[in-house]
Symmetry: C2
Subunit: 433 residues, 2 copies
Amino acid sequence: MDVCIGLLGCGTVGAGVVELVRRRTDKIEALTGSRPVIRRILVRNPDKPRAVPLDKSLLTTRAEDILTDPEVRVVVETMGGIEPARQYVLAALRAGKHVVTANKDLMALHGTELLETAAEAGVDLMYEAAVGGAIPVIRPLQECLTANEISEIKGIVNGTTNYILSKMTETGADLGEVLREAQALGYAEADPSSDVDGLDAARKLVILATLAFHAPVRLDQVTVQGIRSITAADVAYARELGYVIKLLASGSCHQDKVVLQVQPTLVPKHHPLAHVDDAYNALFVRGDAAGNLMFYGRGAGSLPTASAVMGDVIEVLRGIGLPQVGVRGPACLRRVEVRPDLVPPRRYYIRMTVADRPGVFARIAGVFGDAEVSMETVVQRRGGRASAEVVIVTHDVPLHQLQRAVDQVALLESVEAVHNVLPLETDDEVSDR
Amino acid sequence: MDVCIGLLGCGTVGAGVVELVRRRTDKIEALTGSRPVIRRILVRNPDKPRAVPLDKSLLTTRAEDILTDPEVRVVVETMGGIEPARQYVLAALRAGKHVVTANKDLMALHGTELLETAAEAGVDLMYEAAVGGAIPVIRPLQECLTANEISEIKGIVNGTTNYILSKMTETGADLGEVLREAQALGYAEADPSSDVDGLDAARKLVILATLAFHAPVRLDQVTVQGIRSITAADVAYARELGYVIKLLASGSCHQDKVVLQVQPTLVPKHHPLAHVDDAYNALFVRGDAAGNLMFYGRGAGSLPTASAVMGDVIEVLRGIGLPQVGVRGPACLRRVEVRPDLVPPRRYYIRMTVADRPGVFARIAGVFGDAEVSMETVVQRRGGRASAEVVIVTHDVPLHQLQRAVDQVALLESVEAVHNVLPLETDDEVSDR
């Protein structure tokens, strides 16, 4: 039986979907009994050259050609952005069409509304491709791990910043330089703020945390720190200390109290997350029954993302004919309190520039001592003409206590600037030892 | 709605299932609409102390109390072994009961028969727990990655041998010593052959390869080499060369030609598989669209395995009431030719003991040169009184060509013994660089 698919958008991911449907039509029919046929593709400009050869008659600039076509059973949304994607997805769901989307922004901001609409309409809304590219993370959280109480998720979920940080680590170059290179190569957008400032990672964290903790959380509940402040010096100091800097998105939940953070973190070089380079993503999950799990793979790209989209489409095709009732929603079971203040005590890295004079370090150490922040490692280096650079790694300390010490240190007359305050990951995250 | 579960076996995994059902009854009901109730548990000895407190009235020694009870909708099989588990599972499926099993031996040897029976009966047969403990690997292969042509799977799938090799690497001890320790701790069976000789890993490989390649493969088609021959010397030389020894199960498929191997392999110390220690498992998958993926987590244990079992049970409960039709079978789409001879050229490690006399190494090198096997690294050490130990790492070489050279070297009068011939993993397995 032919099942008609309407495709919204034909950019990088959409072209990958077209390509995969072509490669796997027979296999998908053999597996599901349904033969996927791409019936219509919504594009802005039908004359634009595409990454895959396309019959012009497939293209349309009018969304209603897809959304009101009764032949279209499945709508695949790869256009990105909030509007008009949201309106189109709502219209498709209300018209009784199953929807598969790769749109993380949409799912992070409007996931609950869309999943409720899908449930009311008795259709599927699936979004494996919205987080982690090719890596199965949504389905394992929704299905395989549901018998667990998940206490923690943590990972590298933004490819652009991971590429930038990997290159900085590899070459010793500064962020601006690597960013310009990444933009030239198409790995970073002309306006890179959404990636570089951590917003993209925060959106993915919202999707993951909602599923993992079975509770609705919002983007404005994520404490976000991007990578703009990270310099070649930070990367070099981290390396000297045995670490690499990664942008980690993390969520923890204990007794309905949730902490959600996106921040550059020093990861020990033997930690598996330290080896997640370039455009790769990885996600750790800690469950009370399963223990620690990690999922790793390509976080973006045309075919990797299309692989996830088509995995969802195949699942929809398997279910077509069966009375599906939108059981795959976030299935929020509880309200939680998001408590950024509940970050557990941990180690921190602090880099500052100070006046190169006798007694300066003693004053800094005095402030830390008075605040009961104990220091594990101190590195001091000649900086500019009359200045020195000081890097301090603390022992475990509650964030508010550290913050108080850092604020006081920053007020010292001999301290020119506190550049970065970054947490350190411990080595025991992966194994239970 | 209460849904009654019959449990076959109440050992380590079965007790974990009882525990998880108790912890998560409310959550499962909220998610699926069905409230799981353990109605009966088949045990050999009702008087044996159990890891979970159990009402004696739940226990039975007669399988028919579960298999013919019309109230039992789902049978969970955690007894292990082939018979009578196979008969019980067949009877349950034919009686229209969904079955969730953690039994790798059963699925490796009789998976096709059982899945066909399930499809005929219109019920689910699920087995996520049969491979990789808590790690979702079956479901991702069956669902999320089905749009891919998978060319390779490779992983650490046996916890016992991984524990032994990890300890050997950590302590420098010999296999026998570590094995006795592992047995004392309950990490290895009294008769450890199934683990140590690679058979358990081979069975898991059969299950994974059948799913990944959509083709039925058999246990006798796997080339199996266990870890008995690995000595403290091999571990030390590997370390010196920058490697750790891991028992890898691997399957590759190119143009319907399949290679299936279980063998100890030198893994570069920066490779993520090198950091999979103790009872952890990991699986790499390479798909034409998804690229490289890795799944990592606890490969065994009571609650980790029960986590996978209950993930399946929850999926069955979600589907109860819907006309499921056993669509989750291996879905074999083709026949493949299993060709152990098609191992691609790769690097090998060879350790031998030779007479400590002038000219010996020249003769060995001559044999290798004549066979056109080129050497990358040679380490020579004083061995016993009049003997020396030689370790050779070759450049990439076809297996048959290497084998010919090694056979000839073994015939040299001055060569006392060739101890081990092990392949080396390359560093490019994970990233695409």
